[in-house]
């Protein structure tokens, strides 16, 4: 009886369904891995002259190929383990080294983008001319597939001697300023008329209204926008690494992996990128919690 209650409670929550679905995805993954890798494995047996094999041996072999069409999860996990824990972080073969390259571009671009987005929003809120003339363009700028410009920015800046982290960061900046600018315009305008009127009775100047009311009212919007912005600046940094000819970074790992058919390497870079994105977003979430608590929000 008690157990049944526990069960139903678990089923009501999120943890168990999520775990079951992840489990199903893993099972599906292994089935697909066996299926997709079968043709190659048959070829291997034919060349080696192996004519008889047991099912378990066959499945084991398909899941442990060198360059599988779809690597199995444990291969990817092993590759990640080998390239993070077992390699020194400064080695070029270490995934941590590549992750750091991408992360530094992401963070630099995100920081510039946030500052730019906030300043644009301040201008737009305080100047009608800026609001009317720039807002449509800021929105239109996002319908442009900006990542298409990425290779050009990289190559052109390289040609005039600017290379390394800055060009990639600029792409991240372009991608991340938009959610911040739009969110902050909304946030700076979120104080209600009654609050603005109160500031007016205090004879507060525009800058005082901004620093004591608008800025704090915009905080929830800031963090929501920052969560979106940081995950797309990571995308920007990764794509920015593609055209540099696969030198360093997670994007370069993807590209060199696809050149040389190293699927395990591609998947491990992908998983690393996913983990990085999740970490960054949840870090913003932690900062949000601390700041809102400091501001007196009780949850």
């Amino acid at each position: 009886m008690y157990e049944r209650m526990m069960n139903s409670k678990l089923m009501q929550g999120k943890a168990l369904p999520v775990l079951i679905i992840i489990g199903l995805i893993l099972v599906f993954w292994y089935v697909m891995a066996v299926k997709l890798n079968t043709p190659w494995q048959l070829g291997v047996y034919e060349r080696a002259g192996v004519t008889e094999w047991t099912n378990s041996q066959f499945i084991n072999d398909t899941l442990n190929q060198d360059r599988p069409v779809l690597p199995s999860v444990h291969q990817v996990a092993e590759e990640i383990w080998n390239t993070t824990v077992l390699k020194s972080p400064t080695s070029r073969r270490s995934l941590i080294y590549h992750t750091w390259i991408t992360l530094s571009a992401t963070l630099l671009g995100f920081t510039i983008g946030t500052i730019l987005g906030i300043s644009l929003a301040i201008g737009i809120v305080h100047s009608r001319a800026m609001d009317k003339s720039m807002m449509p363009w800021i929105i239109a700028s996002q319908t442009i597939p900006i990542l298409a410009i990425a290779p050009m920015i990289i190559v052109v800046l390289n040609a005039i001697g600017i290379s390394g982290v800055l060009p990639k960061a600029l792409i991240s900046t372009y991608l991340s300023f938009f959610p911040i600018a739009v969110g902050m315009v909304k946030g700076f305008r979120s104080p209600e008329q009654i609050q603005l009127d109160l500031m007016h009775t205090y004879a507060a100047s525009k800058s005082q209204v901004f620093s004591t009311l608008r800025w704090f009212a915009a905080m929830p919007y800031l963090f929501t926008s920052m969560k979106i912005a940081i995950s797309i600046s990571l995308v920007g940094a990764i794509v920015g690494e593609l055209p540099t000819g696969a030198v360093a970074g997670l994007g370069a790992r993807l590209l060199s992996g696809s050149y040389y058919g190293q699927t395990v390497q591609i998947w491990s870079a992908l998983f690393m990128a996913a983990a990085l994105a999740a970490t960054l977003v949840s870090l913003v979430g932690v900062v949000e919690k601390i700041v809102t608590r400091k501001m007196g929000v009780r949850t």
Partner: protein, 289 residues
């Protein structure tokens, strides 16, 4: 360096700025004039940017490899229309549109299924939210490996990229109908599907269109980036990455102009349909004045 050209740029900029400041301070009673001003101000801003770009690049003798002036890009567009059209066909008509429709409709159908089966909803939604934050473009090399160099692999990337925003938005849209409205449907003894089609889907429309808008940009990005990993010798992404290597920067800009135009039109069409479908929504009603 040519100071005259720089001066022209400066004068034009200040003049346009002053004109805009003047225009936004007008308070005409006539609605048509208000609309005209609202349209004219951003257009003037755009023209100003182009003029500054043109005269500053010419005035400072910026190398065309670094940043070609707009007139040069325009000339390039005119002479290479056939290349641009071929790339547009390959990337936009074949990869983006097909992938966009496949990805959005499958996301939509899975969302309906998740709505019908609460277990799926609780299990899928956190995963969907998580995946939406991931750099999904990264699957491009894998898709190119699986589906070959031609447009099929780009379609696959676009499908994966557009699936999750659609799923997440539709599910939260389906929760948008209020309890009172659902109760009313119950008093009519309407079935699940009747409630879905006459109440909950219309209520979810703003969310669904939001996903469609996000996806219109994502689809174009996905297709172009996937082409960096391998294509037949046609396509916008292919052209951009090879012509950059050959320092034909004006052709790259021409390609980007086409991509920008395509992206904006795609977005605009969806926004227009949204206005027609969700005419009841406050944001649309406010827009009509």
């Amino acid at each position: 360096m040519n100071t005259n050209l720089l001066m022209i740029a400066l004068v034009f900029w200040l003049g346009a700025w002053a004109l805009n400041e003047f225009l936004v301070r007008l308070t005409p009673q006539n609605q048509t004039i208000v609309k005209a001003i609202n349209l004219f101000v951003p257009v003037l801003f755009g023209i100003t940017l182009l003029v500054i770009w043109e005269f500053v690049t010419r005035g400072l003798n910026v190398s065309p490899i670094l940043l070609p002036p707009p007139s040069m890009i325009w000339a390039r567009i005119l002479v290479s229309l056939h290349i641009l059209w071929a790339d547009f066909q390959q990337t936009f008509l074949k990869s983006v549109l097909v992938g966009f429709f496949a990805g959005c409709s499958s996301g939509f159908l899975v969302a309906i299924a998740a709505d019908r089966v609460p277990f799926l909803k609780r299990g899928l939604l956190p995963i969907g939210n998580f995946v939406s934050a991931l750099p999904i473009v990264g699957v491009a090399p894998i898709m190119v490996m699986w589906f070959g160099f031609d447009y099929q692999s780009k379609v696959a990337v676009v499908v994966v990229m557009t699936f999750f925003p659609m799923l997440v938005n539709t599910v939260s849209g389906l929760a948008a109908a209020s309890v009172m409205e659902k109760d009313l449907m119950r008093t009519y003894a309407s079935s699940y599907w009747q409630t879905l089609f006459s109440l909950r889907l219309p209520a979810a429309a703003p969310f669904i269109f939001n996903a469609l808008k996000i996806n219109s940009t994502l689809a174009l990005i996905g297709a172009i980036v996937a082409e960096f990993f391998g294509t037949p010798i046609v396509g916008m992404g292919f052209r951009i990455s090879t012509e950059v290597g050959r320092m034909n920067v004006d052709l790259v800009w021409a390609e980007i102009a086409v991509a920008a135009l395509a992206g904006t039109c795609f977005y605009g069409v969806i926004a227009l349909i949204e206005r027609k479908v969700t005419f009841w929504h406050p944001s649309v009603r406010a827009g009509r004045g």
